[in-house]
């Protein structure tokens, strides 16, 4: 017991001091018992955060050994094929920290793998937020901050893998310079100011280094803090279910449950990345050799998150470069790089507000959507993913042609068409699947679960017995609200329905919500049940009739 009291005394002392100096009691009261809902998909953002922390830790280690200089030196390290070659300090020190520093190669590999995981987790996290509608009011701003973070993550990754100054990274820089040169009017000026003169010059390595280890991480860290601050003040969203409402958050307290779970998860993520880095080599810069602008390796590929842009560049036909009046406008480069990035960012930032226009809904939403219950949004999301994946595939068209023994020209021509056709197909198909799943939910809410038990009725008919759902089970299927297309009357309340904006809003709303499946109402269940008691055959007929009424618009339009 005496040890207990010592610990208690110590805790009291520390607590007392923390409260006196930092007002710790208020912080504990406000935060320690904050409730977080539980769901595997909420861990995606955690993976993003943790891999960022791992990047800060391993990156700091790397800076102790890396030499951000393009100055020429003679390689004297242990890698025999490069012995005596003239290489940059940056390249030599990258090799030195890999081969001469204990744990250095592991640190470099952990750093690179975490970077890949960081961007991947960012994008999957964004997809989760998008498909569940977590970007809706009041979280629009946080969605925008997340989008900016994703863009910065890509730039951070690019400046990072440019630093070793190997042949592959130099080729990447060469392409980045061409992207800059293609910017109309000011391109060559930006290029000369960034590179300190002509490409490649000697300035870009120390400059990229400062951008990579100071500028971008500082901005990102600040944005991450704001991002998390918003999570705290909004409280976390939760999936719909019994007992979950727009006015509560159901889950487990930060202290001790989430401290242990989330803290433990950090170590799990770190451990798994260490495992991958121990066993799987990444970016073996010694095999590529030092950067030299005249050689290149076939099958040069950027890190995966740049692949879609590289793919876009590959698909763009050359005739889109225009020369007139003594000036050259390289649309064949400008469109698939700068323009497409700006377009994606604009679409990302605008989306929550666009959907708000379509719904006319200014309320806060803390319950997530099941993706099927927002068919148009889900369709648009899958459309965007399809577009992205096709560009990504195109970024590897040479590898695909090589492995599958196909003509690279055929693959490229196919992708040029597919890039416009397949996303549209994906939109329609996804939307149909969502509507189908909603109908299945209706079916289940009305008649219950299929039991697989077949019963023969006295008059010879076979029916499958359905087990009724409990209130808890049914709630998840019927809890959502359905948006309907805005009518002119709705617009009258909001202002003049005949303004351009009013017309746009009505049209957009129609696009989003014309096809819809309404959730089952108590009256429908009641009707289904009472009919069921009379006659099974009649029950079927009457339900079909009702369903047709409820999903009428989509049937008449697309049936």
């Amino acid at each position: 017991m005496s040890s207990q009291t010592t610990v208690d005394k110590l805790a009291a002392g520390v607590g007392n001091y923390a409260d006196d100096t930092a007002g710790a009691s208020k912080i504990v009261n406000g935060f320690a018992r904050k409730i977080f809902p539980d769901h595997w998909s909420f861990m995606l953002g955690e993976i993003t955060l943790y891999s960022f922390v791992i990047l800060l830790l391993t990156g700091t280690f790397l800076t102790f050994f890396y030499e951000p200089s393009a100055a020429e030196t003679t390689y004297t390290g242990i890698y025999a094929p490069l012995a005596g070659q003239h290489v940059s300090e940056a390249y030599a020190s990258s090799l030195r920290l890999s081969f001469d520093v204990r744990g250095g190669l592991l640190m470099r590999q952990i750093h690179h793998w975490s970077a890949l995981v960081f961007v991947a987790a960012t994008i999957v996290h964004m997809a989760r937020v998008f498909f569940t509608g977590a970007f809706r009011k009041p979280r629009e701003l946080n969605w925008v901050i997340g989008g900016v973070l994703a863009l910065l993550a890509v730039f951070e990754g690019f400046t990072g893998y440019s630093l070793p100054d190997d042949l592959l990274s130099g080729t990447g820089i060469r392409i980045a310079d061409a992207i800059i040169l293609a910017v109309p009017v000011v391109g060559s000026y930006i290029s000369f100011f960034l590179f300190g003169g002509e490409f490649p010059g000697e300035d870009f390595i120390p400059r990229f280094f400062t951008i990579h280890i100071l500028l971008l991480p500082a901005v990102m860290l600040a944005l991450i803090v704001v991002h998390l601050f918003f999570v705290v003040i909004h409280k976390h969203t939760q999936y719909p279910g019994p007992g979950r409402t727009e006015d509560n958050v159901v889950g487990f307290p930060l202290f001790p449950v989430y401290a242990a779970k989330a803290g433990g998860f950090f170590f799990i993520v770190f451990g798994v990345i260490a495992l991958i880095s121990a066993l799987v080599s990444i970016n073996p810069i010694w095999a590529y050799g030092a950067y030299d602008p005249s050689p290149v390796t076939a099958g040069s590929q950027p890190d995966w998150y740049m692949g879609w842009l590289d793919g876009a560049v590959r698909l763009m036909p050359g005739w889109t470069e225009i020369s007139a009046f003594g000036y050259t406008l390289s649309l064949n480069i400008f469109i698939p790089t700068t323009v497409i990035i700006l377009f994606v960012m604009a679409a990302l930032v605008a989306y929550p507000y666009l959907e708000q226009i379509a719904t006319g809904d200014k309320r806060e939403h803390h319950l997530l959507d099941r993706p099927r219950n927002a068919p148009t949004r889900t369709g648009l999301g899958v459309m965007a993913i399809t577009f992205y994946v096709l560009l990504w595939i195109s970024g590897g068209n040479d590898i695909i042609a090589h492995i599958m023994q196909l003509s690279i020209n055929d693959i490229t021509r196919f992708l040029r068409v597919a890039l416009f056709v397949l996303p549209a197909v994906a939109f329609v198909v996804t939307k149909r699947i969502c509507l189908g799943l909603q109908r299945k939910d209706r079916e289940k809410a009305l008649h219950g679960r299929e039991t697989g038990r077949i019963v023969r009725l006295p008059h010879g008919e076979f029916i499958e017995v359905h087990a009724p759902l409990s209130d808890l089970e049914r709630w998840t299927l019927v809890q959502h609200e359905v948006n309907r297309p805005m009518e002119i009357e709705d617009r009258v309340d909001a202002g003049n329905p005949d303004t351009l904006y009013g017309k746009f809003q009505r049209r957009l709303s129609k696009f989003y919500f014309e096809d819809r499946v309404e959730p089952v109402t108590p009256a429908e269940v009641e009707a289904a049940h009472s009919h069921g008691e009379l006659d099974a055959g009649e029950q079927m007929a009457s339900v079909e009739e009702k369903e047709n009424a409820a999903i009428g618009t989509s049937q008449t339009l697309h049936g």
């Binding site: 204990r102 080729t171 040169l181 487990f252 242990a260 121990a278 390289s330």
Partner: protein
Amino acid sequence: MSEIERAGDAHGQGPGTTLARGQGALPDRFENPGLPEHRHRMGDTDPKAARRAERQVAVLLVLSMIGSVLIVVSIIGIKYDDSFERISLSTKAIGLSMFLSLFALGVGAVHWAKTLMPDDERIDYRHRQRGTAAEREQAVAILKEGAAESGLGRRPLIRNTLIGAGVLFPLPAVFFFRDTGPLPGNDLSTTMWKTGTYLTKDPEGGRIRASDLGLGSVVHVMPEGIEDAEELLNEKAKAAVLLIRIEPELLSAPEGREDWSVDGIVAYSKICTHMGCPVALYEQQTHHLLCPCHQSTFDVTQDCKVIFGPAKRALPQLPIQVDAEGYLQAQSGFHEAVGPSFWERG
């Protein structure tokens, strides 16, 4: 705990959880049935199960300790020097020990939380972000009062000059970047190639005799003296040339360029006109040059014009001739800018 309840307390207090059957009109929507009843875990009721979980957590944490010790052992114990087997072994040993140390610690903590910490769900209540009417009114009043005290509304002179100063002060920041680089001038349009510059092999060096080139051969070429260039990589990035010999009758030189080749030997810039990668892949059968970066394809028999891919312009040709001893040299520099396009290129 003021706002946080255990879910069990809230259960059953919600609005009616079942359909009120046969009591007049039905509601339009179902009502939220409230949280399901909490189901206890084994460890909550069975002390044996709880102790088992406790032991499991302890085993995981001990594994983590072993991992941490193994990291130190691997770093100190494995010599890390001249052999790649050693480096590979060391990397694997340190990495796998790290995995053990971190992963076991993480799994231990999560297992502890999942098996032994309370797993009944709690409820916290949300508040709208928007303030109440009173709060909003107070905020507006404060802002109005502050604005009035500042007198900005009454003193347009200060207001306008403040706006002017505010807009102007960040602008000079841009000009601090002036010396990050020189102006482009015509650097992008010039290379080391001049009249009489000898073609040398890249990377081994040495002039090239026209008669030494067999039919179908390809040589990577740099201008003589490039090794002494002040900005070696910058010059290399523009001056790289491919020398190709094909049957003279296959060449189709455009007007005015008939004498730019020597007996079927042609020299073209190796820098892709698309994004500047070296156009390094030559297909002997078809006489096509392929850029490995974005697959732009150039046909040597058609003056290296683009026959596929995202590039627009043909590879610039370097006019060549032979000197008295039969060595290849440039007739002149390139007649246009090499490499990727830029606005002023024309």
